[in-house]
Amino acid sequence: MATNRMIAHYAHETELGAAKGILGAPQMETESYVIYDQPDDATVKRLEDAGLIVEIVEDPALAFRRGDVFDMVAKTSAPMAAGAEAGAPMEPGTLGEAIPAAPAYFMVTLSFPLSDDLRKKIEAFGIRLLRFSPPASYSARLTPGQVTDLRAMPEVAVVRPYVDLDTGTIFDSLPMVVKAAAPAATESYEILPDRREDFAEVVDFLTARGIDYELKGRVIHMTVPSGSAIPGELAQLASPPSVGPIEPLFDLRLHHSGDLPAALQWLANEGIAVVGSSPRKIRVRLDGDDGSMYERLRQHDSIADIDPYLPPHVDNDLARQSLGIDANVGGAINAVLRQNGSGEIIGVADTGIDATHPDLAGRLIIAIPRGRPGNATDPHGHGTHVSGSIVGDGSTGSGIRGIAPNARLVLQSLLDSRNRLGGLPLDLNDLFDEAYQQGVRIHNNSWGSATASEYVVNSEEVDEFVWNHPDMLIVISAGNEGTAAAPSHGLTGFVDLFSIGAPATAKNALTVGASRSSRTIGGYSQLTYGQAWAPHFPAPPIQGEHVSGNPECIAGFSSRGPCTDNRIKPDVVAPGTDILSTKSSTAPGKRFWGLDATDPAHYAYMGGTSMAAPIVAGCAALVRQYYREDRAHQPSAALLKATLVNSTRWLTGGDAIANHGKSPNYHQGFGAISMQHAIPNAAVDFQLDFIDGWQTPADVFRVSGERRRYQVTADRAGELRVCLSWTDPPARAIQNILHLTVQNLQSAKKYLGNEDRAKLLNGMDRDNNVQIVRIANVQPGERYMIMVTNTSLLQTPQPFALVVTSPSSVPMSRLP
C-alpha cells in the first residue's frame, strides 16, 4: 500500500540511534539518512527533538493516482487503458498503455530516493537511468521485458512512455516555430537591411513586385517561386541588404549519444535537412514543413527535447558602447588585495576588440575572428568595453583599470558582417574548447537569448562543458529583460521575476546580474528609470529612482530569477550601470551612455548585465591567482564559484529585497560580490579553508547517502561563512542532490544550506547546486561541524567544492 514517506537526515550516530529507537528498523538506511513510512506528527516531533532533519516526501504513486502528477499523459495521443484517465484510481506500475515491442524511451518514477542499492538493482536489469526530472522521475530506454521488470519492483511507482509533451518546448505557443518554412516549388529568404532606414527601400521593392513578405523584426521574410530573380535584384539596390535562405532551425537533443547514427538516418529518410550535429544534438532545418514534420519530431523516440534555434544577433542600432569598470570598485579592490590577475588567462566571447587601444594592446594573447573572416575588430564597441573591464591596464595613464590588469586575454570575436553573433558555433562546447585550448580557465559571456528563465540546449552545453572540464569557470550575464511594466509575481513599481536569459540559466555557470553603481556624475546616472526607459518603469518607486547612485539597489533592467526549475539565479550581482571602460576607436560616441569627460577618445560609459559579468570574471581571476600562488592549488570552477558566492554582501535596497528580504532571493541571488570577504586580505580578518573534490579523491561522492564532515573551531569573535558548490551533470534541474548542514556542536543547533531561500518547500534544498550557511557573531571557543551529504546520485563520481571562512587560526579538520 502506497504511503507518504519520511526521510530523516542525521548528522551523528546518536541521532541515528534515536530514530531506530523510536521507529525500529528503517526501510532504507544510508550514511546520512534513513527512510520510514510517514509517522504521526508526534513521532515527527520526537525525531526533530532528537536533532534529525525530517523531510516528508509524498509517494509519487499516490500523486499519480490523484491525477496531479502525470496529467499530461492523459492529454497525449498515446494509447492508454481507460483506467489511465487523469484522476481515475490507478495502481502503481499498471499504466495500461500499449508497450512498444521494440526498446523505447520511458519515464520511470521512483517511490524512494535513488540509493546506491536501488540503482544497482535497476542496473541489474540492464537498465541505465539517463536523467533526473524532479521530483522523482528518470528517463530510460527500456525493452518490454525491462518495463515489466521495473513495474514489479516495490520501489518503482510508475513506468510510462516518454511522450511528445515531454519533448515539447517552451516556444510551442509561438506560431513562428513551425511557420517559417515555405511550400514546395517556392523558396523562402531572409532579408536583413543593413540599416534601419533601408527597410522602406526593401519593402517598397517587394511591394512593387507583388512579392509576399512578412516582417519579422529586424529581418524580412519573403517567399518567391524557386529560381526567382528577386534575390539577385535585391542585391542591386542602392543599399543592398543581406539576403539568404530562411533557416527554420531547430535543435534536437537526443536522449543518448548512441542514438545519433540512427537518428541521423531517420532524418535522412524523412528528408529533413541536418545543419550539423554534435554527440547529443542535431540542428535541423524544417524546410517546407506545415507543422506535421515538427509533430513527428516531437513523437520520435530518441529525441528528448526540441528547441527552436534562435539565431544570435546584436542590436546594432541601439546598443551604445562603453567600456570600463567602475573606478571606485576597481580602486577599492586594488587597494586591499595583492592579486592583480597575474598568470591568469581569461577568455572573452564578444563582438570583437580594438587591439590598438593602449590599455588592451599588451594584454591580448590572441583575437580569434569567428564571425568575419580575418577580422576581429570591434566596430560595435561592446567587446572592447567588456575586455577593458577585465584586463584594461590603464596604459593611457588614465588610472582607469580593469579588475585584473595583469591577466591576459583570449578574445573570440563573434560579430559577423550582418551585425549578429554569427561567430557562435553550432555547439557551445566548441566555443569553450577553443578558448580552453588557449589556456583559458575563466570565460566571460556577455550575451544570450531572452528565454524567460527556461533551460535550453545552449544552457545544457555550458553545463556539459564544465562537467567535462571541471576547471573552466564560465561567467554569463543574466540578461537585461528586467521590467516592471506589468509585474505578475510582485508589486507595482517593482521588477518582475522569471526573466533570466540563456545560456545564463546553466547550473554550472556563474550567472551575474547588475547592481547599480555608486556613480552620480556621467552617463545616465542623473536620469531616473522612468526617464530613461519609461515603458518598463511606469510606476513608483522605481520610476523615480536614479539609474545609478544607490549601490544598495539592483539595476532595473537586470534579469530576475528564478529559473523555471526553481533554481536561484542570478548567482551574484556586480555593478552594471554607468560603467566606465575602454572605448573602441571605431565605435561612434552615440552608441555609448556617454563618453569620459577627461579622455573621450579612450573611455566611455555603458550599462547592462554585460558590464557586470566581466567585473566578476576579473574577480574570479584574482581568486584563482590566490589559490594558485598562496595555496599551491589549481582550483575547480566549483571552488571559484563557491569562493565568490561566499564573499557576497547582502544588498538592502527596497528593490533588492522585494518579495523576499533574506539571502538568497531572485533579485540579487546570493548578493553583491565583495572581494574583501572572498580571499584573505589586509582589510578583513578571516581564515579560509576549502575542499575541492576534483583534486582530492576523499571528497568525492560515489554512493548515494554518503556524508563528509569537517570541524572548525573559532578562536576569536567573528562570522562563519560556508558555501557548497558542485558541478552537476548536464540536464535541466539538479541531477545529483547534495546538501549542506552546519551544526554548533555545543548548542547542537543546526543550520541548513539556503534555509532562508526564497522558495521553501521543506528544509533541505533540492533545487540548487550552490548552498550557503552564514552565522554571524560566532564566539571564541565555539566548535562547528560542517557536513556535506547527498540524498541521491544519478551520475558518479560527484566531486564538490566547499569554502569555509571563519574567525579561526587552526585549519579546518576532518571528522570521521
Binding site: 519579422k216 541601439l318 561592446h382 536569459g501 515603458p535 552615440k590 556617454g594
Partner: protein, 360 residues
C-alpha cells in the same frame, strides 16, 4: 526677418527657421535628417549660429523616423560628449509611449524579447525601442526633457490651443489632433493584433514604418508666421490630418481653404500622404520638397497636382526641391515652367543649405 533654411538632407528632412532681427536672427530647428547629415551639413550651420552668439529657441522632432531623427540624435550626442557649443531652450517631440499609450510598448517588447535570439546584453538591446527612446535619453542627459515647457506631454492641436511666441515668430500646432492620436492608438492595437507573429523578434519602429508608416501619421505639424508671412511645416503627416488640424485651429476660411507663403510638402512629396484635392485647398507661393529621388520622392504626381492647381488659378509659384530627381526632370519636360507659370529651383549641388527668405 523671416525665412526657412532648407538643409541638404537627401531623402530626409532638416529645416531651420530663421526669424527675429536680421542683425541677430533667432532659430528653431525642425528635424535632423538621416545618417551623415549632421556631420556633413548641420553641424557647421549650427556652429556658425553659435559663433554669432545665437542659440536654438526650440528643436522639434516632427516624428520618430530615421530620416528625421538620426541627425538630432547625432546632434544631441555631440553636445553631450563634446560640449554644448550651442544652447537649446526646449525640445519638442511626441514619444512613442506617450502617443501610443503606456502598456502597449512593453507588451510589444515582451513579444519581441521572446524571439530576439542571442544578443549582446547591453541595456539598450531590449529596453530601448528605437531611436525615439535614444533621443529621449539624450534629451534628459543634456537636461532638456522633451516637451518640458509645453502644456502636456503630448503636443497636439488640442493641448496647445494658443499661439506660441518666440520673438516675432508665432507658432500654431496644427497636427496631430487628439482625435488623430486616438484613432492612431486604435490602429496600433489592430496592427499589433495582426502582427503578433512578426513582432516576435521585432523592431517595432522598423516594422511599423515599413508597414503603413504608422508613426509618420503622428507627425507634429506647425503653422508659423512672422512679419505677416506664413509657412506650413508638415513632417511626414497625412493631408487629411493636416486639414483636420487646420480646421480645429481655425485657420481655414469659409470655403475650407488656406493660403500660405510657403508649404513644406508632407513626406518628401510622396503621393501617398496627400491628395490632388488637398493642393487645391491648401495653396502656397513656394512649395518645398526635401527629397532625393529615393522612394520616387518627390512623386511626379504630387508635383503635377501642385502645378495644375496653381495654373488653374493663375497663381505663379515656385517649387524648391533639394535635389534633382527623375520626377523633377520629367515635370519640366512635360509641364514646361514658362507655359505653366512656375519656377523650379534646386538646392545647388555641393551646397549645404539655402535660405528661402520671406521677409527681410
Amino acid at each position: 526677418m523671416f525665412g526657412l533654411r532648407v538643409i541638404q538632407a537627401e531623402f530626409g528632412d532638416c529645416l531651420l527657421l530663421e526669424y527675429g532681427n536680421a542683425g541677430a536672427p533667432r532659430h528653431m530647428l525642425i528635424d535632423g535628417g538621416p545618417p551623415e547629415i549632421y556631420e556633413r551639413h548641420l553641424r557647421k550651420i549650427l556652429k556658425r549660429i553659435a559663433d554669432d552668439g545665437g542659440k536654438l529657441d526650440a528643436v522639434v522632432l516632427s516624428h520618430v523616423d530615421g530620416d528625421h531623427i538620426t541627425g538630432l540624435i547625432d546632434f544631441l550626442a555631440d553636445i553631450r560628449d563634446n560640449g554644448k557649443y550651442i544652447d537649446i531652450d526646449e525640445l519638442w517631440m511626441n514619444s512613442f509611449t506617450k502617443v501610443e499609450g503606456e502598456g502597449l510598448e512593453p507588451q510589444m517588447q515582451n513579444l519581441a524579447a521572446l524571439g530576439a535570439g542571442a544578443m549582446v546584453k547591453t541595456a539598450e538591446a531590449l529596453l530601448t525601442i528605437g531611436e525615439g527612446n535614444a533621443l529621449t535619453l539624450l534629451a534628459h542627459q543634456i537636461e532638456r526633457p522633451p516637451n518640458e515647457k509645453r502644456a502636456d506631454p503630448i503636443i497636439t492641436v488640442d493641448t496647445e490651443p494658443a499661439e506660441i511666441s518666440f520673438d516675432n515668430l508665432r507658432v500654431r500646432v496644427v497636427g496631430p489632433t487628439r482625435a488623430n492620436i486616438e484613432s492612431l492608438r486604435e490602429k496600433w492595437e489592430a496592427w499589433i493584433e495582426n502582427h503578433t507573429n512578426a513582432l516576435v523578434g521585432g523592431d517595432i519602429y522598423v516594422m511599423a514604418n515599413s508597414d503603413g508608416s504608422i508613426p509618420n501619421l503622428s507627425s507634429i505639424m506647425l503653422h508659423v508666421k512672422a512679419d505677416g508671412r506664413t509657412m506650413l511645416l508638415t513632417g511626414d503627416g497625412r493631408s487629411d490630418h493636416l486639414l483636420d488640424g487646420l480646421g480645429d485651429a481655425g485657420l481655414l476660411d469659409a470655403a475650407g481653404k488656406l493660403h500660405v507663403d510657403l508649404l513644406k510638402l508632407p513626406h518628401h512629396g510622396s503621393n501617398r500622404n496627400a491628395t490632388k484635392k488637398f493642393f487645391s485647398r491648401v495653396t502656397a507661393d513656394i512649395y518645398v520638397a526635401s527629397a532625393n529621388g529615393k522612394d520616387d520622392n518627390p512623386d511626379l504626381a504630387t508635383l503635377i497636382w501642385i502645378v495644375e492647381a496653381a495654373d488653374k488659378e493663375g497663381r505663379a509659384i515656385q517649387l524648391f526641391v533639394t535635389n534633382e530627381t527623375p520626377s523633377t526632370l520629367q515635370l519640366v519636360e512635360e509641364y514646361p515652367p514658362a507655359q505653366y507659370g512656375y519656377t523650379l529651383e534646386l538646392l545647388p549641388s555641393g551646397t549645404s543649405s539655402q535660405l528661402i527668405t520671406l521677409a527681410d
